[in-house]
Symmetry: C2
Subunit: 166 residues, 2 copies
């Protein structure tokens, strides 16, 4: 079965029993989760997030800088007042750097593709807990985040456990 | 119960029955879903995504431009070859523009906060299906996306149904 077929068939089953079509646009619990796009994380299940209650932002590495636009929108336009940044063990962002990524792009996709990413900061990092703390501090330093509660966490893909760092 | 308490208690229950601690870092089904951070979307359930099988990228509006870094990493570093862009009905990004967002920030957080977002493009849009098509075309126009399959979809938050646009 193709990816598209599985999506459509699985969605038909989901929609057949769907009863939450009247949820409001703003998150009912007024918080946002920022976590990684990693395939091994299911935020709704692992972090106990009922449908409609929280924004769930996911990018490579759960980067606060990369999610700045999303967070401002979540807070200023949709009323959230709390952000939980959840990075995780075994993150791909711990395994390469800008030079490696650019070299891979050039080798596999050519010169024009290399130009498209030559100014791109991949926002990799070397120290997981240190980066959680640094992201929390960076976000808290922004005037636009005044009054927003920010905490930092680590999720363990090996055990399914989450723990608070800061 | 606070947000943090619910997360920790819910996660204790999740981890207690967790059995998938040996999943590989690269997505086993080699695809990425790009969808919105909206609280009313549960991609794993609605789009039938088994744990470990796909990257799930979520930002405000399911913006391909905002997810460019994530998509390059997903493909070049972690081997995905297919992207499904899934925007949705009732999206908050249909409801404001850059000027409105900047005005709100200035009024609620002050001058310094306004300066932090004065160059920020919130990437809002006015036509849902049009924007799905435009994002797909934009992504396909990139040399770094050569060989990657890109499709565009709309999820209906009112019915739980997803449909393909392009």
């Amino acid at each position: 079965m193709s990816i598209e077929q599985r999506l459509v068939e699985g969605n038909n089953a989901y929609a057949a029993t769907f009863t939450q079509g009247d949820l409001a646009l703003p998150p009912s619990q007024k918080y946002a989760i920022l976590t990684c796009m990693d395939a091994r994380i299911d935020p709704a299940a692992a972090f106990s997030i009922p449908l409609g209650s929280a924004h769930i932002i996911r990018n490579a590495g759960a980067s606060a800088r990369a999610a700045f636009r999303d967070l401002v929108i979540s807070q200023q336009l949709l009323g959230t007042t709390q952000v939980l940044i959840i990075k995780h063990t075994g993150c791909g962002m711990l395994t390469f750097d800008n030079a490696t990524a650019r070299k891979l792009v050039k080798e596999s996709k050519g010169e024009k593709a290399a130009e498209e990413v030559e100014d791109l900061d991949f926002l990799t990092f070397g120290d997981l807990e240190g980066k959680v703390k640094e992201d929390v501090e960076w976000l808290k330093s922004k005037a636009v985040e005044k009054g927003v509660s920010v905490s930092g966490w680590v999720y363990e893909v090996e055990t399914g456990k989450v723990r608070r760092v800061v």
